[in-house]
Symmetry: C2
Subunit: 555 residues, 2 copies
């Protein structure tokens, strides 16, 4: 025996099983309430008070779609004398009760990714010191931290069905549930699952029952938002013009095989232009074959026309259940036939395995930095920064990636296509191109250590506006990048300050292209080019398999 | 009905279930061989010939540790007249039979991550055109592609135990098995699993049986390498000196809370210095609390001394099974008590959720680019580039990350610590610092579109040699980066060309530090500082729980 060891040994902990013992002791307290793993619905508040301790790290599932709404409503009702100082970890702050937890002093600290509809109230609560922000994350880094320094004590998640052994069926909206549960189940955390329905046998097992401690049938189905449904009726001719430019001047030019689309009307327009304008260019089977995205209804015509080989999804989409189940050659589906998604793996794929990310934003500064954080709204990040950057850890090549090479030398490498697609004015009023991002001021007000920038200019390869395309990856220096951006900034102050006499050189250097250079007539950008002009037509394309939520029905 | 739809409709495929139908038809051919999901051991070659078709994409599990060795040996024996032109996807080429598959013309194309011990033969086969390389990847991007453009037809994986319903127990070496299976099971691919043992009930369910099509008991346990075991006897005083510099000049200086260590002797030295030298600096409980790494035996003394709060692992380590099971407060363990790893999630955490990556390399060029690819050896990447770069998608902050800020302005952000730790000469002979990386030439020979660089200079924040530390993140431009590097390059040609009169300025600018600046005496770097000096002492520290493989036993 070394003397070193004898000196050091007493420093170590006296027990190595504190987490396991703690879990065991808490579970014993609810044992009398349970039948196997099943908790009666009306006992949930009582059970949460027995299972959660002050200061716990608690993950509450709130994707941008699926919400553990029964459990969040129950958490608001616990006695703050018994349960307080919680450190909440939530990928999305989407419901009023998510913030009520803090106002009622049940929780004090928050690590999150996205706050969407609650961003205004969140900003106010930060100002009032009623909420302490740890950090704002992308989804993937938040998931990573669940295994490093944000390991949870308790997780509250949602699934469609469970059997009495706790085996879970998530259906199409698998989303982040398996990742959250894995972080707790394998570290002696407590896994509490609300399910829409208890059944004798689940249609398929998405998560094994042994990973789950407690299931509870919710009083109503979990909240699920139709976040990725865009009504074609709202697609304007500006979107169509920009879509045509993107298809010809980016997708076809760089031979983009695999990509992610966000939820904007710009990309919805592209989806609906592929079977018409794209077809007329002879691009079917040549571009846009592999996708990382949710089952967008606006992609139905392209799928039905044979454009799409595969789609892997972060989550599902309300109303697309029957359609995706009927297209297993395209979507990931389980042995039971229904879709399966996986937010963590799709974010990995969206970061590392696709040629292109294309998204929209609210503000862009002269160097191409952008953010959706505007005055008073701390909306967070979601998944965009993860997919909207050039991953330096990527080592495999594709034609599109190699196309972004700029410069000489033996170590030059390719780059991911990161495209921003914006109108020069938001709602025809506020300029998208600004001298300085609001995010800087908002970050300072919220005492964030760095400004909440969504995508940094150095990562952006293209910007598309209704004026034209800036090929930023071709810029040899920051001055060229600024010039190319200003050239497509229209009549915003940035655009008006631009010296148009430089455009000829910028065009010949390949730094910008207007519709004329792309051989596109502005007058050709008509709504008649859309493969579907309404939700009703999407339903027709799907042969009745797509079942849109009632708010999208007008017939 | 829109006319557009009527025009487009005929373009779509006539069936949307070709993959499901194909799987069904192949599975029918082996039905008579199976008892439930169980295939008799001796039928494996026959079954593979019936289940795999020419041109299939086949994933063969070969982590850097666990190998589906029974299945790879069987695949070599199939008739190339029946099964050929396979496109193999393998994270690691580790066994001779992995390349025999190509020599026997069963497979033709390969996408992979790491080739380790087979790198020499691989290079020769590429030269002989007996293998076509798709791309070389990091692990995580290869996993991502399994859901995008490398979706598999058949996967061949390994687990410890299965029951007759196909439920799998992987034990500590869960590794990449769940990720590979998910890509196939939810896309009508065929999942074939070799198991060491068929049992009536598995200790825990790591992968649900419904995701598995066929299990076969292997003739012997799967191959498992003790890749992360470093014998403290081989740690030299140079390693110890460098370790002391790293602890004081990097870990403590930047307050590193979370990190990854690779398999080198340099980092093994650091692990063994924490409970001695680190303790003397009062650093316990202050740094190195959260880890993304395999259960390194050399970390046992630090764990036992109370340094480590959590470890999430890519895989397991031979001999560490009982130890990890007895330390559930530190390691991720399942409801059954044994460890669980997850290579994909740990790579996500290692990329996004830790303060620091520290690794070693074989060559560094004057700008800090590095590679382990040297003449004639196309060794690939593994996970290092994924963890050894600054992820631009990261938005959360930590003290260490903010410490890397360099420059002013409202949009300045932090950076991940990426540390290279190298002796100036490899084995005392070949200089580590070179004018130009061998990787450039090797890449050209193998017709790779870009040079196989492991870590790019712009991502490296620190380089540690036996001479001192270069704080590259402080460099304002590439010239300063080159000077700082040259200053620690010793008597290599690069180091000898350096003008030592500049060092005073480099020191005062914080660009370099020698042991003197860190208040470290070279003569203090003695082996007596190691908390364990042999594998035997590691076993003692573990109270006999660590059970090293026989090749590491000398007592």
């Amino acid at each position: 025996m070394s003397t070193t060891k004898q000196q050091q040994q007493p420093l170590g902990p006296s027990s190595w099983t504190t987490r396991r013992d703690e879990k065991h002791s808490r579970m014993q307290k609810v044992e009398s309430l349970l039948k196997g793993k099943v908790l009666p619905t009306e006992q949930i508040v009582n059970a949460l008070e027995l299972l959660i301790r002050p200061g716990d790290r608690v993950v509450l599932e709130g994707n941008n779609q699926k919400q553990a709404s029964f459990l969040s409503a129950a958490l608001v009702q616990v006695d703050p004398e018994k349960v307080n100082q919680l450190h909440m970890i939530m990928s999305s702050i989407s419901r009023p009760d998510h913030l009520d937890i803090f106002e009622k002093k049940i929780a004090s600290k928050l690590d999150f990714s996205y706050s969407g509809s609650q961003s205004l109230r969140m900003s106010q609560m930060i100002e009032d010191n009623s909420i302490e922000i740890g950090s704002i994350h992308t989804y993937l880094e938040l998931y990573g931290r669940l295994f490093i320094d944000l390991i949870p004590n308790v997780v509250l998640v949602a699934a469609d069905k469970a059997d009495r052994q706790g085996n879970l069926y998530t259906g199409a909206n698998t989303e982040e549930t398996p990742t959250i549960i894995e972080a707790a189940a394998f570290r002696n955390g407590i896994v509490i699952v609300q399910v829409n329905e208890l059944v004798d046998e689940v249609p398929r097992i998405d998560i094994p029952g042994a990973w789950v401690d407690l299931v509870v049938e919710s009083d109503r189905p979990y909240q699920l938002e139709a976040l990725f449904t865009r009504d074609p009726r709202q697609i304007k001719e500006t979107h169509i013009l920009m879509g045509m430019m993107a298809i010809k001047g980016i997708y076809a030019k760089h031979n983009v095989q695999s990509l992610n689309h966000g939820i904007g009307f710009n990309t919805a327009a592209i989806e609906l232009l592929l079977p018409t304008y794209g077809e007329s260019l002879g691009l079917r089977g040549k571009i846009c074959k592999h996708w990382a995205l949710n089952p967008h209804p606006t992609l139905i015509p392209a799928i039905e026309s044979g454009w799409i080989e595969s789609i892997h999804s972060f989550g599902g989409e309300v109303g697309m259940e029957k359609y995706t189940a009927a297209r297993p050659d395209v979507f990931f589906t389980g042995p039971d036939g229904s879709m399966r998604s996986n937010r963590a793996l799709c974010q990995v794929a969206g970061q590392y395995a696709v040629d292109m990310f294309i998204g929209s934003t609210l503000q862009i500064d002269p160097e191409g930095n952008s953010s959706t954080v505007t005055s008073g709204r701390l909306s967070g990040f979601g998944g965009a920064p993860n997919m909207g950057h050039d991953p330096h850890g990527r080592r495999h090549d594709t034609e599109a990636w190699l196309n972004m090479m700029n410069g000489d030398g033996p170590l030059v490498r390719g780059k991911k296509l990161v495209v921003q697609m914006v109108e020069t004015f938001q709602n025809g009023e506020r300029p998208t191109f600004v001298d300085s991002l609001d995010a800087i001021h908002v970050g300072q007000e919220a005492h964030l250590p760095i400004a909440p920038v969504m995508i940094y200019g150095e990562d952006v390869t293209h910007v598309v506006t209704e004026e034209g395309i800036a090929y930023l990856y071709k810029a040899q220096n920051i001055e060229e990048r600024k010039l190319a951006l200003a050239a497509v900034a229209g009549v915003t102050p940035l655009g008006q300050a631009h010296d148009a006499s430089l455009n000829e050189r910028l065009i010949s250097d390949g730094l910008i292209a207007f519709p004329e250079q792309l051989d596109i007539r502005r007058t050709d950008a008509r709504r008649s080019l859309l493969a579907a002009k309404s939700v009703e037509e999407l339903v027709e394309w799907s042969s009745g398999l797509y079942n849109p939520p009632s708010k999208f029905r007008s017939w």
